[in-house]
Symmetry: C2
Subunit: 200 residues, 2 copies
Amino acid sequence: MGAKERKERQKTEMREAILSAALKLFSDDGYDTVTMRKIADEIEYSVGTIYLYFRDKNEIFFELHNRGFAEFFQKQLSVQNIENPLERLTAHGTAYIQFAIDRPEYYDLMFISRTPSKEINKNKHWTEGERTYDLLKLNIRQAMEAGYFKGVDLEVAAFSLWSFVHGIASLFIRDRLMMVPVESLKPLVAGALKFLERAY
Amino acid sequence: MGAKERKERQKTEMREAILSAALKLFSDDGYDTVTMRKIADEIEYSVGTIYLYFRDKNEIFFELHNRGFAEFFQKQLSVQNIENPLERLTAHGTAYIQFAIDRPEYYDLMFISRTPSKEINKNKHWTEGERTYDLLKLNIRQAMEAGYFKGVDLEVAAFSLWSFVHGIASLFIRDRLMMVPVESLKPLVAGALKFLERAY
DNA sequence: TTCCCTTACTGAACATTGTTAATTTTCTGA
DNA sequence: TCAGAAAATTAACAATGTTCAGTAAGGGAA
């Protein structure tokens, strides 16, 4: 009598297949070259079928945005075992930027593209973004307890640190660093993170 | 015998008209809603005509990008009379962010959108961006002479400061600041700039 | 097994986009 | 005035997201 359950399972499997296909295309050539027809070809169904599982293209990209965050959050957590709060914060920043470099399409979708922000604006609540922000605040709070950020408001510190790493990541991803030679990018980023420590 | 000259003038006037029309549409509803046909309607010519004056849509947006920079550079220069290097740098940052808030579409086109970066990549040289970057470096150098940024590399400092303000601007423009209430945005930005001063 | 209703899927069609090229209109200089 | 050049138009093309009438498949009851 598991007919209903099987139906459910098939439904999620199909959604899964669509998302995987979209992700594949998207990682290969960037998300603005992904078309509904290409996705349909990839899963070997017709275009119309996709619309039985997703309201529209935005919804697909919003789901991919969520997957990006899942992977991102893993990476973020991997530095949490570092004892020294200062070191941990900088490692946190490095991991952030490294994610942007390794997974530029994901980063773009999560923090730059307008595509998912329309979806986000509907519920007026960006769960994934907030979770990341909270982790950052946690690490800053612990650094504060260790004597850093004297006289600095927690919100201000979190906003500043996030803006800083996001600025680096998004200038890189959207190709606005032509004036710095590629080979000096890495030391520049490391230097910038060291520089920011002076404000801690 | 000024026929040739008149032709030239008419040509630039037409380009001008097209750019103005594009700018109008673009400021009203955002650049991704601007279509060639809407521009054509606006200037009361047919679509094809636009292609006699611009190679393609990218070229139009690249020109708008240049205009954005002209306005931007004006604003940037307006803080150059401030004597104190520290104050001047922070005013520089404030002016940067204020431009992004006042002219979000321009800022987006100049520093975020992929549209003009394709055009930029052709000559492999981003004149407008470099000019801005040089002004920033000038101000940092003068702050260094006044004793700030001890032991910091000029390139690192410039990269850091730019990333910082760009991070703020682009998170704002691309709607990724849902977790901060609108009313606290202004003090947050001011606080962030003050916070960064600690690293100077 | 057979029948029928629900569910799943298809694919042609639509409107909108940037871009092109053949055609028509306008201008210009002898 | 008129032929050649320049400017402008318009229909067309391919690609896009999305919809919907039609077709196929599935599954429970007789």
